[in-house]
């Protein structure tokens, strides 16, 4: 969508994005020649359409490096902690637990190791030992 100042025959430019209020977006456009201003008042469906594209009117100025922003922000009901923050500690494995893991068939070892480490984080423990392995055996069906 583009806006034209008919009097000047000049394309208008975004003057200010006033944000979203109760689901509806307001953006002020201005003619660069005569400075005449107009407000674009989008209804909630139109606002949501722009949001669904993952873009922001007059946005994108700064470099964003948020991953899976849409999924994390737009899902109405999502699993808390579905994405663990950067730097979440990797638990320490005791030699006994490592030996037990090595007895598991190699084709499932990688996935099982990750699942057990997730279980350790979930329980707030920093070491994978025999006790946790016993629990993993029942909860993960090892």
């Amino acid at each position: 969508m583009k806006f034209l100042c008919v009097a000047c025959d000049q394309p208008m430019v975004v003057h200010e994005n006033l944000g979203i209020d109760q689901g509806a977006m307001t953006v002020v456009f201005a003619c660069p020649t005569c400075e005449w201003r107009m407000g674009m008042l989008a209804n909630p469906e139109e606002t949501q359409m722009a949001r669904s594209l993952g873009v922001e009117v007059a946005g994108g100025g700064e470099s964003k490096c948020t991953f899976m922003e849409m999924i994390q922000e737009a899902m109405a009901s999502s699993r808390p902690g579905a994405i663990a923050p950067e730097g979440a500690d990797t638990p320490h494995w005791t030699p006994e637990a490592t030996a037990r893991l090595e007895r598991v068939p190699s084709f499932v070892r990688g996935m099982l190791k990750k699942s057990i480490e997730d279980l350790a984080r979930e329980k707030g423990v920093t070491t994978v030992d025999d006790v946790l392995m016993d629990e993993a055996s029942s909860t993960l069906g090892m």
């Binding site: 594209l53 873009v55 922001e56 100025g61 991953f67 663990a84 990750k114």
Partner: protein, 299 residues
């Protein structure tokens, strides 16, 4: 007075610039992936997701680095079939690390974002007019799955599409370099009628059709491995011929396939010597040859 096309750019909204930035993120991620292949069927319940999981496992058994993108956002099944339902995704400087399945198959699925088995995927937004924006929202999520998952170097990324014909054109918008699609049907006339249309849609997208697979072609006795009849229907190979696409083969149904899928370990890993296992492995080998992939192709 100027008209729309007389005005260059997007009127200062910066939307084109943001879309271009999204495109660059997708391209950067795809540069680490050798080939992207989609598994597709207009008909639901033909075993498309099961075939996806088993093809991924077959390729991983052949030494390829494989990822699976579950594009069925509203009915995700790859996390179950590849045994990663309890895994948490981890944020890294490169993106969101995928879950790790058997044979180190990397998996990204909406399943991992849902709080419970009974929770459907719903989005924050106005309750009226969801038809206007829901499809766009789902496209954006798919784009994020491609661009924001730290897949690492992959030989193959396999995309499990939801049932229906409409998702393939959407996927080709996100991944214009799609190496091809594998189309799945079962022998019944109803399935072939629907999949006939799927093949037509696939051709209009210009994406190479790698071939047609006949799934559930007979039933395997788990005791003696004999194959008996299951569905009536016309020759699936004739449908492939009619569309001028390769017929990749027939896979019989084996009850153990379902059990293995529920257990999170694809059937071919433990039963590759059975009639169904051999059929899937042969299809995987044939596709690998068509795609020109060896295990050293990782970029």
């Amino acid at each position: 007075m100027k008209r729309y096309r007389d005005i260059a750019g997007d009127g200062g909204s910066n939307i084109l610039q943001q879309v271009a930035a999204q495109r660059e993120r997708v391209d950067a991620r795809l540069s680490q992936i050798g080939r992207v292949v989609a598994v597709l069927s207009g008909k639901g319940g033909v075993g498309k997701s099961t075939l996806t999981a088993n093809l991924a496992a077959a390729w991983a058994l052949q030494g390829l680095a494989v990822g699976v993108l579950d594009a069925d956002l509203n009915g995700p099944s790859m996390a179950t079939m590849l045994g990663v339902r309890r895994q948490t995704f981890h944020l890294t400087p490169e993106g969101v690390a995928p879950a790790v399945g058997p044979l180190d198959i990397r998996v990204m699925s909406m399943d991992g974002f849902l709080p419970s088995d009974g929770t459907p995927v719903t989005w924050d937004g106005p309750s009226r007019g969801t038809f206007i924006w829901r499809g766009t929202m789902e496209m954006s999520v798919l784009r994020e799955f491609v661009s924001d998952t730290a897949w690492g170097p992959l030989d193959l990324l396999v995309v499990d599409l939801p049932p229906g014909n409409e998702r393939l054109p959407h996927l080709t918008d996100i991944i214009p370099t799609l190496a091809g699609v594998v189309v799945v049907t079962i022998p019944t006339e109803v399935s072939q009628l629907v999949v006939n249309k799927t093949l037509t849609v696939a051709k209009t997208t210009g994406v190479p059709i790698l071939g047609l697979v006949e799934n559930m072609a007979g039933y395997v006795c788990s005791s003696c491995n004999a194959v008996g009849g299951l569905f009536e229907g016309g020759e699936v190979s004739a449908l492939a011929v009619a569309h001028g696409v390769p017929f990749l083969g027939s896979t019989p149904f084996d009850g153990r396939i379902a059990r293995q899928s529920d257990g999170g370990v694809p059937f071919v890993i433990e039963h590759g010597e059975t009639p169904a296992g051999r059929a899937i492995l042969a299809i995987a080998e044939s596709l690998r040859s068509v795609l020109g992939l060896t295990s050293t192709d990782s970029p």
